[in-house]
Assembly symmetry: C2
Homo-oligomer: 138 residues x 2
């Protein structure tokens, strides 16, 4: 069973513009704003609920060609995916496969926050679902 909601991701046209609401109006201070050129995006994390809490992630595509940019073009700004933290991503992947879930990865991919797999919306009632193992703190 997943440990918690790690983050909820929102795809936006422009992070600074989105922060007018999320930072100025709502009062959530971003912990990180950075370019991730390998994924052709700029991201911001808005932490809520302290260390055991969850984050809102803002994702801004930085090139017109990525699948995220095409998602934005087609669907507009809005909710993009949910990420749940799991204890062990390898065991989770095996279990998802054994139970016939439509996992998009043959093995865990290296994400910014740890190792992750994605499950296709067709298996989750329409939700792109990320499952993530964070590196253990040492």
């Amino acid at each position: 069973m997943p440990k918690r909601i790690d983050h909820v991701a929102i795809i936006v046209r422009n992070i600074e513009q989105a922060l007018v609401f999320y930072r100025e109006t709502l009062g959530i201070e971003p912990s990180v704003i950075k370019d991730v050129p390998s994924e052709q995006v700029r991201i911001a994390f808005l932490p809520l609920g302290g260390p055991a809490g969850s984050e809102i992630e803002l994702i801004e595509p930085t090139t017109p060609d990525s699948s995220l940019a095409k998602f934005l073009e087609k669907r507009g700004e809005g909710l993009h995916h949910i990420c749940l933290e799991v204890e062990n991503i390898d065991a989770t992947l095996q279990e998802m496969q054994a139970k016939g879930a439509p996992v998009l990865d043959k093995e865990p991919r290296l994400a910014a926050e740890g190792r992750a797999i994605f499950v296709h919306p067709k298996g989750t009632s329409g939700v792109l679902l990320e499952l993530l193992e964070r590196p253990s703190a040492e």
Copy 2:
């Protein structure tokens, strides 16, 4: 500033069908499954992360006429809204209005979990946003 992500809501055609993935495959046990006739929906809450954690809410429209049923018809299953818990919903409403956020409620509405207001997606980068004050535990 909001205290935490209270829940993330997913609109589904059929809760039992959605639970095949969320309960059987993912292993999250619903804390509540109930009809809410006043809102023409059936809902399930899937708690994650313990008492300080967040929940996934599954929402199934039970009539064809509600705005939720129309949303489902138009957009299909998927992410519907995020809810953030706040300390004081009256103060939050005043602040949102003073800062020009497109709040959908003139005063807090009575939701199942407490008193809440909704902010229109046009002010939040495309996300229907619920802000909720839960009754204080006594």
